[in-house]
C-alpha cells in the first residue's frame, strides 16, 4: 500500500508543471515566433519573385510577333514556322550587354517558355513497329510444314505488329508495355493479340543496381532480348529456334543488373523467373524457378572498332521435373570509320551449349508386349551456334541505306538425334531510320527427318527458301544499343 501511495505521489509530482517546464514552454513559444517570422520572410520573398516573373511574362507577351527568320528552303507544305523572331532571340541574351542572371537567364526549371511545350507533356512515348515477312519454298517443304516459319510457308504474313508504350512512372521507375499481334502458324491466317512485354524498372537502387520486373524478353545472349523487327537478320538463327523456340525466352519474373565500378564496362545480371518457356523449361513454378545469369563486357578497339563479349546461363526444370541448363557465349564486333554514321562492318555470333536430362521410356524389344528395358533418365548435351554479319559500304547519299550480309547456322537438336546447318546471304535497304527492306536466300540441310519436320509424310531434309522482310516504325522508338 505504501509503495502504491509512493508511486501516485511521484506520478503527480511529474505531472504538475514546475519552474523548468514553464521555461521550456517559454522557449517553445519563442521558437514558434521565430519560425513564424521566418515563414513571413519567405512568403514575402516568394511573392516578390512571383511578381517579378509575372512582369517578365507580361513584357514578353506584349512584344510584337515579328516575322520569323525561317530558312527560305523549307519545303512547300512542310514549312515549320519559328515562334521566335530574330529580334526576340537577340534580345534574349546579348553578350555585349551586361547580363543580370536573375533578370535574364535564370532557368525556370521545371517551368520554361510556354511555346516550347506541347499538349503531350505528361504523356508517355508511343510507337508501333510492323514487321511483315514473305516466304517462298518448295512444295514438299510446304506440305511438311518444315520451312523457317513453320506453318506459314509460301505466305506473306505479319510476323510481329507491336504497340509499345513506355516512359517514366515517377522519378524512381520506368515502365514499358508492348502489345503485339502476329499470324499463327496454322495457315489460316489467324491473328492473335498478346502481351509481349510489360515491366517496370527501378532505376535508383543502391550500389548501382537496377531491378526489372514483370514479363520480359530475357537478356540471354545477343538476340533473344531483341524483338524480330530489331534483329540484324530476317529470321531467327536456327540454334535459338531449336533450343528456346520461335518466340524465344519470354518470361515472367525479375532481373537485377549491376554495373561494376571498373574502368571498363562489366555488367552482371541475375534473374529469377517462372520458367514458362515450353521448349527449354516449362515447369512454370517459382518454387522450381528458372534462374538466369549474364556477364557482359565491352572494349573499344582503336577509334573506330569495338567488341562486346557476353556469357549467359539459364537453369530450370522441364515439365518432367528434369533439369535443363543452357550456357550461352556471344560476341559482336562493329567497325565504323571516321565520319560514318552507321557501321561499315558488323560481325556477330552466338554459341549455345545445353545440358539437359530427359525421361526415356523403356522399350518392348522382342515384341512380346512386355517392356524389356527399364524407364531411365538420359543426358542430352547438345550444341548449336551461328555466325553472321553485314556490310554497309556507302557512307552518304541514298546508297548509305544499302547493305549486304550473310549468316551460317549449325545446330544439333536439343532432344532428338540429328543436326542441321543453314547458310544464306541477304541484301537490305534502309531509306530512313524508320523503314527497312530485306531480301534473302536460305539453304537448310538436315541429317534426318524428324517427326515434327515431316508432317503429312513429306520429306524436308533439304530446304531452299527465299525470304523477304518489310519493317516500319511509327512514332517513338528507343535508340538501339550496341
Amino acid at each position: 500500500m505504501r509503495a502504491l501511495v509512493g508511486i501516485c505521489l511521484l506520478a503527480a509530482g511529474a505531472l504538475v508543471p514546475g519552474p523548468a517546464a514553464a521555461q521550456e514552454t517559454e522557449a517553445l513559444r519563442k521558437e514558434l515566433e521565430q519560425m513564424r517570422r521566418q515563414f513571413e520572410t519567405m512568403k514575402e520573398g516568394y511573392e516578390k519573385a512571383i511578381n517579378q516573373l509575372s512582369d517578365r511574362l507580361k513584357t514578353i507577351e506584349s512584344r510584337p510577333a515579328a516575322p520569323a527568320a525561317v530558312p527560305a528552303a523549307a519545303a512547300p507544305g512542310t514549312a515549320v514556322p519559328a515562334v521566335a523572331s530574330r529580334e526576340q532571340m537577340l534580345s534574349q541574351a546579348q553578350p555585349g550587354i551586361p547580363i543580370s542572371p536573375t533578370e535574364l537567364a535564370r532557368p525556370r526549371e521545371p517551368f520554361s517558355l510556354y511555346e516550347r511545350r506541347g499538349t503531350g507533356q505528361l504523356l508517355f512515348d508511343m510507337g508501333i513497329a510492323g514487321d511483315f515477312v514473305a516466304n517462298f519454298t518448295q512444295r514438299n517443304v510446304d506440305k511438311a510444314n518444315a520451312g523457317t516459319f513453320s506453318g506459314r510457308e509460301n505466305r506473306f504474313f505479319p510476323r510481329e505488329v507491336e504497340l509499345s508504350l513506355f516512359g517514366q512512372i515517377d522519378p524512381f521507375a520506368r515502365g514499358e508495355v508492348i502489345i503485339e499481334t502476329g499470324e499463327e502458324p496454322n495457315e489460316t491466317g489467324e491473328l492473335t493479340l498478346r502481351l509481349a512485354e510489360a515491366h517496370l524498372t527501378l532505376l535508383t537502387l543502391p550500389f548501382n543496381t537496377q531491378l526489372k520486373m514483370g514479363q520480359m524478353r530475357n537478356r540471354f545472349g545477343l538476340l533473344n532480348q531483341l524483338h524480330a523487327h530489331d534483329r540484324p537478320f530476317i529470321d531467327s538463327p536456327n540454334v535459338l529456334t531449336r533450343f528456346v523456340g520461335e518466340e524465344g525466352l519470354v518470361e515472367r519474373g525479375a532481373e537485377l543488373t549491376w554495373v561494376a565500378p571498373l574502368p571498363f564496362f562489366l555488367e552482371g545480371l541475375v534473374g529469377v523467373f517462372n520458367g514458362d518457356n515450353e521448349d527449354a523449361f516449362g515447369r512454370g513454378k517459382l518454387s522450381e524457378p528458372l534462374v538466369t545469369g549474364r556477364l557482359r563486357t565491352f572494349f573499344e578497339l582503336g577509334d573506330f572498332g569495338a567488341i562486346q563479349l557476353g556469357v549467359s546461363v539459364a537453369n530450370g526444370e522441364t515439365p518432367e521435373r528434369r533439369r535443363n541448363t543452357l550456357f550461352g557465349f556471344d560476341a559482336k564486333y562493329k567497325w565504323a570509320p571516321s565520319g560514318w554514321q552507321q557501321p561499315l562492318l558488323t560481325v556477330l555470333g552466338e554459341l549455345i551449349y545445353q545440358e539437359r536430362r530427359i525421361n526415356v521410356l523403356g522399350e518392348d524389344t522382342d515384341g512380346d508386349g512386355v517392356q524389356d528395358t527399364p524407364d531411365e533418365t538420359r543426358r542430352r548435351n547438345r550444341l548449336g551456334w551461328y555466325v553472321g554479319g553485314e556490310v554497309r559500304p556507302f557512307r552518304t547519299g541514298w546508297q548509305k541505306g544499302l547493305g549486304a550480309g550473310f549468316r551460317y547456322d549449325w545446330t544439333q537438336y536439343p532432344v532428338m538425334r540429328g543436326r542441321e546447318w543453314a547458310a544464306g546471304p541477304f541484301i537490305s535497304y534502309q531509306p530512313s531510320e524508320f523503314l527497312r527492306f530485306r531480301l534473302g536466300y536460305k539453304h537448310t540441310q538436315r541429317t534426318a527427318d524428324r517427326a515434327d519436320f515431316s508432317e503429312n509424310e513429306s520429306s524436308a531434309r533439304k530446304v531452299d527458301e527465299i525470304l523477304f522482310q518489310a519493317t516500319f516504325i511509327l512514332g517513338a522508338h528507343p535508340a538501339h544499343p550496341f
Binding site: 515562334v83 555585349g96 565500378p261 571498373l262 557512307r395
Partner: protein
Amino acid sequence: MRTLLRALGTGLLALGLSAGGAEAADRIRVVATTTDLKALTEAVGGSLVEADALARGNQNAHDLEVRPSLMVKVRRADVLVINGLELDQWAEVVVRGANNPNVMPGAPGRVDASSGILVLEVPRARVDRSMGDVHPLGNPHYTGDPGMAPVITTNILEGLARVAPQHRATFERNRQEFLTRLAQAMTRWSADLAPFKGAKVIVDHNMWLYFLTRFGLVQAGSIEERPGIPPTPGHLTRLIASMKEEKIRVVLTVPWGDQKLAERVAQEAGAKAVVVASAVGAVKGADTYLDTIDYNVKAVAQALK
C-alpha cells in the same frame, strides 16, 4: 580452377578499388552529351570539374550508337549535361544502362542545357515523319550561337551548384569571366560579319540557323531536302538553279556531312563549299568553345569575301 577464379576475383577487386580511388578525387565528374556542352561546363566549373563528352566533335550527335563504353563514363558521373530538344535522345538509353541514380531523369545531377532557351523553328502545325526526321520541340542546334552561352552556362551553373553548393561562388566567378571574354569576342565577330549582313548561304544540314540569325546572315536553303533524308536529284537541280539565280556564294558543310556532294553543288552553282566546325573539336583549331565560334566566323567571313 579455383585458383584461377580467385585470381580473377582478386584482379577485379583490385581494379574496382583503384577505380574507387579515382572516384574519391575531389573534382565533380561531369559528362556532357556533346563537346560544346563539355567546353561550356569546363568554362563554368574550371578546375573543380572533370568533364567528358559522349559524342566526339566530328560525330553527328543526332544519331549516336549507344556503346557500353559511354555507359562507363556515365556510371561515374555526378552531373550529366544534355542538349535536350531531342537532339541527344540516345543519352536516355546510355543513362539507363549506366545504373547511376545521380543522373536519372529528375535527379539533381541532371542538367538540360536547353532550359530557358528561346527555341527557333518550333512547329506550330502538326508534324510527322513525311517531313523527315523533324525535331518536334524545335531546332536543337542552339549551341552554335554564342549568344546562347549565357543561358546555357546558367543552366550548367545551377546544375553544378545543386551538386556542390559550397562552390557556387567559384562557379559564378568562372562564368562571369567566361562571359566577359565571350562579350569581347562577340564584338569582334559581329564586326567581322557586319559587312555581309543579309548575305544568303546554303547549308548541308539545318543546324546553322541560330548562328546565322545571330550575325544577320540568311539561310537560303539546304542540301538536305528534309532532315535526315538524302536529297533527291530534283531537289539538287532546283537548289543549284536558285543558288545561281540568287547569286549565293557559300555552302556550309560539316565534317560528318557529305562533303563531296556539298562541293559538287557549290561547284555547279559557282559557289564555294566551306567546312565549318559542327562542335568543339570537329576540326583542327576548334579546341575550345570560343575557338570554335572564332573558326566558324572566320571561315564564313572568308568565304563571303
